[in-house]
Structure formats: structure tokens, C-alpha cells
Symmetry: C2
Subunit: 343 residues, 2 copies
């Protein structure tokens, strides 16, 4: 049967001062009126039932996620530590298999904005069918709308059948010129939406992922703590998908964004005629291409362009939108008592 | 005896959203830790006693000013309507004369920042002595520190004596090139600090100010309402000083600023090494020449220059510092429910 694994870890510092360790990005209503995590579950409606949705997260967020996503406690998998995506997905897949020996798994993230849920479901359905029929690890490649340098790209190879193709190679976070070349050559964004049968994923892990494979017996014996203590953190892309020759790609044409920065809200939220996105109360006067998040006060911008202005958690942040991708540099510079919005 | 007349009307919209009709500029601690109106009174200590300080304002602000400035109710003169500076100063001067037939008057404004109170008092003393000895209307010209286009200039003429000179002419709000020429030619800023004997001011008014003179009998009969109803609003500069040939100038070298805009705070407040002025809690990261007024939240600026960022009265304003002089255009564009911070 079909299972979904939603990765919902991550501290979401890129949305400071709105995001906090207690309310990271995936629990914020960034793309709409509900959190992206709730949207991720709702988007699966009709494709995978809630009883077969597993969420992987840390201990701090587990209670909130269980409640918000209306999941059984058994379906919230609490990582003993964050160890990147390969251990998390391999664990969750093996857990699905434990409950359902014939499990096939769709893996996704809790912090996405998706423009067309029906197109998303059609593509996910195709990916799951391809994974089963051709026994491949199936990536979903999103048709790029811009030469984004912050994403990974998938270069499709020979046709596999039913519209799917093999993957020729991956290209992670290319420079601007390379991104343009990749786009022109028909490369697709590596969305992180994957499909596989549990059996096949574990076979490929045994064959290609020495960082994780030797510790699978710990999982089989139910010792999740030991598994996470002993694995080497590595991403599923680097640790498996880039190494295996059994990786296919199905293309999807839905709008997809991982909402990586404040500036991303200009892509996933409605804009005024001057390109401003205002969440909360705001008045834009001779201002363009700004992002405003106003928790409480009325924000008035006058004569400014390309700014991010955020009021949240007792902080007001003003920065150029193009700097939003460098949030870490700012957070590193902030004294803890300013950065920590609970103080 | 010496009297002071402090003009304390004005709605102070230029400091929106901090300034409000109930708390206009002169009641805000813009230049220091107390309001500029309190500073104006304190600055006169040793020169003119509080019992001979008259404050002219509107009905809405009178109670606050009386309390804050610790004045007798008799010393707060409530204008029935705002009619520019000539009617206000002529009324207050005639009121001083009514209480003291030999009154001499120092006129000043409640919204100034002055760098050196002792130098201010020395100059005011010289202006009062000149007014008495030479029977002139005496202006105080401040040595300019920049070719400011927002101020009026006084071009000094022939020497009068004791360092005072006659006024050759006034030049109001020159363009940038003219301001440079005026500065090079030794012109002085027209500060609005004036001195005269009551007798001489009223004589000159009779001779030169038909907008006000015919209504002086109403004042003499104590009918202030009628006086203000019948006068034509006009400034003391245009209505009298630019017309009279009995106008002298005493120069002052104290730092003086009328704090006309948010940007003016960069001149009257301490700056960090990158030229930022922060009142309230703020953290400046790779940012320069910004003005921050933070009523409650911690303001974090990152990678921005020359911005004004104000949080006050439930509003957050972000604008380029150079636009601060055009506040009226913004306020005209704001819907009343946003502009009116009491809503």
C-alpha cells in the first residue's frame, strides 16, 4: 500500500524573527492561511490516507505536529537526533515496511508551497506507479520557472517508459551561468519529492550507502536510538540517489517552492500591482517589490524598494530582499538575547 | 524687565507616527531625554525667570504645557485660532507690556535643539541688550554649518555697534546654489530667536503690518477672540521683519536645529560609528546613516543605508531618510484610519 513520509524537522532560522525553535518554518502559515505542514497533509487527500502518513521530526515539535496534523501518535516518528535526510527516510521507509511488508513510499517535505495540488497528486501518483512498475527510485523533477541557483537540478537521461526517464546526473546549486545552461538543456528542479518501494530502497541502501547500511540491523531489532547514534549523517541525494544507477525521474509541471527565504514569499503569495507582498496590515506608498510580515502594527512603507520588513515576536527586521538568503550571517552577528525571541 | 515668549503651537506632523495632535513635536523628547518644550524653558534659566515666561499655544495643548513646563495658568496664552507668528508674537508682546509697561521680549520656539545652552544665553542676552540700547527689532543669526535649503537666511548689513549689525535683507529657503553663495557671503540662518522692547515692536507693527495693526485696539480692550478673528494670518518675518528698516542681527555660534524632520535627528542625537541614530532598542548590522525610533520592539536593520525606521503608536514607518522632508505627501496619501494613530 501507499505510504507518505513527511520530513518535518528543521529549525527554520531563515524566517527569523517569525520562526523560532518552537515555531519553525513548517508550522507557520507562510504560503497560505494554514501552516505548510498542514498543507502538506491536506495536499495528499485522495492519494494517501492519514493513517498511512508518517511524519519525521524532533522531540520538541512532535506534540505540536501530531495535534496540528491530526495524526495518531504512532505516526509521528521522533528522531533521536537530526542526521540529515538519508537516515530519516531510510528509517521511516523501514518503519512503513514493518507495518506493511509491501509498502511503497512517497517522500516529501513539510515546508513547501505547491501551486496546484491536483497536478501535484497526479505527478506523485505517476511517480509511485513508476517506482512499483519499473522498481526504480523515482525522483520528481519540477519544470523550472527561473534559473534558480539555490536548488539542485536533475538532468534526465534515456526514456524508461510511461513518460518516466532515467536520471543522467544531478547538479546541486549551480552558478548562474550553469543554471541557465541546465534550464536550456531541459534539466528539472530536484524537488525532494521521491517515490520508491520500501524493498527497493533498502536494497539500494545496502548496495550504495555504507554510512547507513551497516546499521540497518539496529533498526530491524527496533533500536532506533542506536541506529541514529551510529549512522553517519548524509543526505539521501548524496548518500544514495547520486550513487545508484536505478534512479528515474518523472516530471511535474506544478508550481513548487521550498520557501527558503523571506523573498520567496514574493513567489508564493499574492502581490499588489507594484510587486509588494503584505501579510498583516500594511500600506504601501511609492514602494515596490517589498515583503511585509506584520504581526501586530500597521506597517507603512514609503519610497522604498526590495525590502523585507518583518514584525514578529518583539522584533522588527528590515533588510534588503536580496540579503534574505544570507540570514545566517545576520543571526551569527546577533547577540543571543536579541536572536532568542523568547527573551 | 525681560520676558520670554515661547511659541508652542504646531501639530508636528513631520514626526508621524510618533507625533500626534495630542503629542506634537514640541512635547516629544526628540533632542534629549525631555521634551524640546521643557528644554526651551530650562535653557532660559538664569536669563529669564519662569514667572516671566509666556507660552503661546492652542487650547488642546495648553493643560499639558502648563503642567510640563511648571507655569502659572496666567502664563499660558491660548490662541483662539492659529494665525501664524505675527499675531501670536504681537499679542504675547502686548500681554507682556500690559503686565510690565517697560517689558522687553525674547521670542523663541518650543521645538528647537540647541547645542550649547550657555552660548545660547550669551547671544540672547546680547540680542536683548541691543534691542534696548539701539531700539531695534533684533534677530539672532546662527552661523550656518551647512548650506541648508530648508531655512531662511539673514544677510547682515552695516555695523550697528557692540557687534550687532543692521539686516541688509532676508532670503527664505534658497535653492542649493543660492544657499552655498549665501553661506560663502557670510549670511546667517534666521533662527526665529528675536528680541525687542514691547514698545518698539508695537510701533513697528503700527507702521508696517496692516494685517494686524488695525486690530490692536481689540487687544487693548482685552478682546483676544476678536483680535484673532479679525487679523490676517501672516508670519512675523514676512509681515514685519522684512518690511521694517529697524531690524538688526546679532550672530550666534551655538549649534541650532529646528528638528524639522526625522533625518534631523542625525544632527542632534549621538551617532554610532556608522552614522546611525538609535532611540529605543536597536541592533545595526552592516547598516549606516539610519534613524531608528523604537517605542517597544527591538529593531534589527541589516544591510540598509539612509533609512528612517519608526515604531510608534501602533505604526511602523520605513522610508528613505531623504524623503523625511516630504512627510506631508505621505500623510496626504494615507487613509485617515491609518494616519490617525488614535484609531
Amino acid at each position: 500500500m501507499r505510504w507518505a513520509v513527511i520530513l518535518a524537522g528543521g529549525s527554520g532560522t531563515r524566517f527569523w524573527p517569525l520562526s523560532t525553535p518552537e515555531h519553525p518554518k513548517q508550522l507557520l502559515p507562510l504560503a497560505g492561511s494554514t501552516s505548510t505542514a498542514e498543507e502538506a497533509v491536506d495536499r495528499l487527500a485522495g492519494l494517501i490516507p492519514r493513517e498511512r502518513i508518517l511524519v519525521v521530526t524532533g522531540a520538541a515539535l512532535a506534540p505540536q505536529l501530531q495535534e496540528k496534523l491530526k495524526l495518531s501518535p504512532d505516526n509521528v516518528l521522533v528522531e533521536p537526533r537530526a542526521a540529515s535526510t538519508a537516515p530519516a527516510l531510510i528509517w521511516a521507509t523501514s518503519e512503513a515496511q514493518r507495518r506493511d511488508s509491501d509498502a511503497e513510499v512517497l517522500s516529501l517535505h513539510a515546508d513547501w508551497a505547491v501551486g496546484d495540488a491536483a497536478a501535484f497528486r497526479r505527478t506523485a501518483d505517476a511517480a509511485l506507479l513508476t517506482a512499483r512498475q519499473y522498481q526504480r527510485l523515482v525522483t520528481v523533477g519540477v519544470v523550472p520557472s527561473r534559473p534558480e541557483t539555490g536548488y539542485g537540478y536533475i538532468v534526465p537521461g534515456p526514456p524508461l517508459g510511461d513518460g518516466a526517464r532515467m536520471v543522467a546526473r544531478f547538479s546541486e546549486k549551480p552558478d548562474a551561468a550553469t543554471a541557465l545552461d541546465l534550464m536550456a538543456a531541459g534539466a528539472l528542479w530536484n524537488s525532494g519529492l521521491f517515490a520508491w518501494t520500501a524493498e527497493r530502497l533498502l536494497q539500494e541502501t545496502e548496495a550504495h550507502t555504507p554510512e547507513v547500511a551497516p546499521h540497518l540491523p539496529a533498526l530491524r531489532s527496533g533500536d532506533v536510538d542506536r541506529f541514529f547514534r551510529e549512522v553517519t549523517p548524509i543526505s539521501i541525494d548524496v548518500g544514495l540517489l547520486e550513487r545508484s544507477d536505478a534512479v528515474a525521474v518523472v516530471s511535474g509541471s506544478f508550481a513548487w517552492d521550498d520557501i527558503g527565504t523571506w523573498q520567496a514569499l514574493t513567489r508564493v503569495r499574492p502581490k499588489d500591482p507594484h510587486g509588494n507582498v503584505v501579510i498583516g496590515r500594511g500600506f504601501m506608498h511609492n514602494s515596490s517589490d517589498c515583503v511585509v510580515w506584520a504581526e501586530r502594527d500597521m506597517v507603512v512603507l514609503s519610497g522604498v524598494q526590495d525590502l523585507v520588513v518583518v514584525q514578529a515576536n518583539g522584533r522588527i527586521l528590515v533588510m534588503p530582499a536580496e540579503h534574505a538568503a544570507s540570514m545566517k550571517q545576520l543571526l551569527d552577528a546577533l547577540p543571543p538575547e536579541i536572536r532568542d525571541t523568547s527573551s
